[in-house]
């Protein structure tokens, strides 16, 4: 392993920023697909964490493995989510989540 040009803290800071961006994106986007993108940001923040820890700490291969699963599982999740968004579009003719407000009391 070569000498680290960037310290671990730096990577973690970036991932934290991604995490915050992701959550803000989830909270502000009206488009369902946009929200999913926010989720992806959050997930990728964690993936970045995993690989960073794998690189800098004895966590090692575990972290990379974790990142792998962290890509695969959300992919499946995204597939389901997109299918559901499609179904929602079929009935509502929109993917604006603010229009999904019939269920309340």
């Amino acid at each position: 392993m070569s000498e680290a040009a960037i310290p671990l803290e730096g990577v973690l800071l970036v991932s934290a920023a991604m995490f915050v961006c992701g959550t803000l994106c989830m909270a502000t986007k009206r488009n369902a697909v946009g929200i999913l993108m926010g989720v992806e940001l959050v997930l990728n923040a964690s993936n970045l964490n995993f690989v960073a820890f794998a690189r800098y700490t004895p966590f090692g291969l575990d972290g990379q493995m974790f990142a792998l699963f962290g890509i695969v599982m959300p992919a499946a999740e995204a597939a389901i989510a997109l299918a559901i968004i499609l179904a929602f579009y079929n009935t509502h003719l929109t993917v604006d989540v603010d229009r999904a407000s019939e269920l309340k009391l």
Partner: protein
């Protein structure tokens, strides 16, 4: 232990691990067969249902056999734990799956063309939930939560033509995805900081890091990591304030699905939560000679506050509901609150914690909860089939048209309230006992007050169904033997705890399950 070692262990141990994994494998096989059937036979509920029933029963029998064998070990190199706790939840979830299949038989739930899909999702979710209860590795934990969640999203939106179902599943999936992202981030912090994702090892390292020469040191990253994972689990538990999906999803989804989610999903989430919390807390407590330290105290208090808020919120919010499923959703939230209480008490009490007499109450409660809550949702589903409405305003005077369903509903709702001699009382009584014993008096007071609050809305339903004047032209429910048997079974189950021996038996089982919990 890092993954390379894990692979090595898994390779050397694959045979015995797979043997211990047989019930899950049976489920997997059933799912595969169902998918194959889907290929060859485009329509037909019976075959799918029969397959699902057979598959789940086989899995249940296998689980029972393994429970009898009393196997207690980690399998797949520390990904999963097979202990009494796992056995218990396997049995619980598989038995529930069997009952669910039975219920779909009564309510004609899936349309013939979708039958296979429905059962695939149902069993798939069950599989994920079983894994939730048995995983002891953060990666496995994440996967299990996803495996349980993804089919649930599908189930929630299963009524494809329904606008509400679409909306419900959208909300579920969006919220769920967000929660899982947050959880994964927390895992990355925890696993990365402590260099392992194997829960027991992680817990031991945490204990080491906390108990330093300079006294108790708690790193913010630890707190943040634990908490973010807890948020993910709390979403599954539907603890306030992570509950928002729950009423909407229950409202939009079919009553059967809501029943499934309210019992199985909640049960698995609580199983996961208590395993996670206990595994983490135990080494820390051990390191300090079982004196309370700030970490466990804070964890316990957080859980306790969460529990109190959840129970109170659920019960108060339920009062204003007119849709039965929505009302029961809030009731579900409230009960999640009750069930969180003993977990908080278990780690928050001073002295050597006896998880077997604190957390087993959760298991005990879940069993009772299965019988009362599934029953309530089943009645809602059957009444929906009969009168085409789930709104309380159409329930007026149902006793005259559907006496059995109404009496059953009365039993279930009163059991949920916790009125003796119904099982719900016993379960609640045990929670109160634990809270008193561990000195959580304020939580006890909250729990008791909530019992009174809950009476208002449960009895409101009964009042409409029994005392109010009948709504004109309500069609009568056509009963059949299977449905009667189903309800009689559930009603009897709600009375059964006071039969000599039953309470003891159940308590022995749950105590045993928790006692064999594999702790670091």
């Amino acid at each position: 232990m890092n993954l390379t070692e894990v692979f090595e262990v898994v390779r050397s141990d694959i045979g015995s691990s797979l043997r211990a994994f047989l019930p899950e494998l049976a489920l997997v096989a059933t799912i595969l067969v169902l998918l194959l059937v889907r290929l060859f036979q485009r329509q037909g509920t019976y075959v799918s249902r029969a397959l699902a029933l057979i598959g789940s029963i086989v899995a249940l029998l296998l689980a029972l056999e393994q429970y009898g064998a009393g196997l207690h070990r980690e399998i797949f190199g520390g990904m999963l734990a097979v202990d009494g706790y796992t056995h218990f939840f396997r049995l619980f979830l598989l038995a529930f799956a069997v009952l669910m299949v039975w219920l779909t038989m009564l309510t004609n739930m899936p349309e013939p063309e979708d039958a296979a899909d429905f059962f695939v999702l149902l069993l798939g979710a069950t599989l994920g939930m079983i894994l939730m209860s048995s995983s002891i590795h953060l990666l496995m934990l994440f996967m299990a939560v996803e495996m349980a969640s993804l089919p649930s999203y599908g189930l929630a939106g299963f009524l494809k033509e329904s606008r509400r179902a679409g909306e419900a599943s959208l909300k579920y999936v969006v919220f769920g995805a967000g929660a899982s992202g947050i959880m994964l981030y927390g895992m990355s912090l925890l696993a990365g900081r402590f260099g392992t994702a194997h829960l027991p090892t992680l817990a031991e390292r945490i204990a080491q890091s906390v108990a330093t020469e300079h006294g108790v040191v708690i790193e913010p990253i630890l707190v943040a990591g634990v908490l973010l994972v807890l948020v993910g689990i709390a979403f599954k538990v539907s603890a306030v304030p992570f509950h928002f999906w729950c009423p909407d999803v229950f409202h939009g989804a079919a009553a059967e699905v809501a029943g499934f989610l309210s019992v199985a999903s909640k049960g698995a989430a609580l199983a996961l939560l208590s395993r996670f919390v206990l595994t983490l807390a135990y080494p820390v407590l051990q390191a300090f000679g079982f004196a309370q330290v700030s970490l466990t105290q804070a964890l316990a208090l957080t859980l306790a506050v969460l529990a109190a808020v959840t129970a109170t919120y659920g019960n108060l919010a339920a009062y204003a509901q007119t849709n039965l499923k929505r009302l029961l959703a809030y009731s579900t939230i409230a009960h999640a609150g009750y069930m969180l209480m003993p977990i908080a008490a278990a780690i928050g009490s001073s002295g050597r914690p006896n998880f077997a007499t604190a957390v087993d109450v959760v298991l005990f409660y879940l069993v009772v909860y299965l019988f009362m809550n599934l029953g309530a949702f089943a009645v809602v589903a059957l009444i929906r089939n009969a009168i085409g409405s789930e709104d309380l305003s159409h329930y007026g005077g149902l006793i005259h048209r559907n006496p059995l369903l109404t009496v059953a509903m009365a039993v279930f709702l009163l059991s949920l309230t916790g009125i003796p001699p119904l099982a719900g009382f016993v379960a609640k009584f045990r929670i109160f006992v634990v809270l008193y014993q561990t000195g959580f008096y304020w939580l006890l007071a909250v729990g008791l007050a909530n019992t009174v609050f809950s009476l208002f809305y449960y009895v409101k339903v009964l009042r409409v169904m029994i005392i109010d004047e009948p709504v004109p032209e309500t069609p009568a429910w056509q009963s059949n033997a299977l449905a009667v048997a189903f309800h009689v079974l559930l009603i009897v189950a709600n009375f059964a705890l006071l039969i000599p021996g039953v309470w003891n038996g159940l308590q022995d089982i749950t105590t045993g399950a928790v006692a064999t919990l594999l702790l670091p």
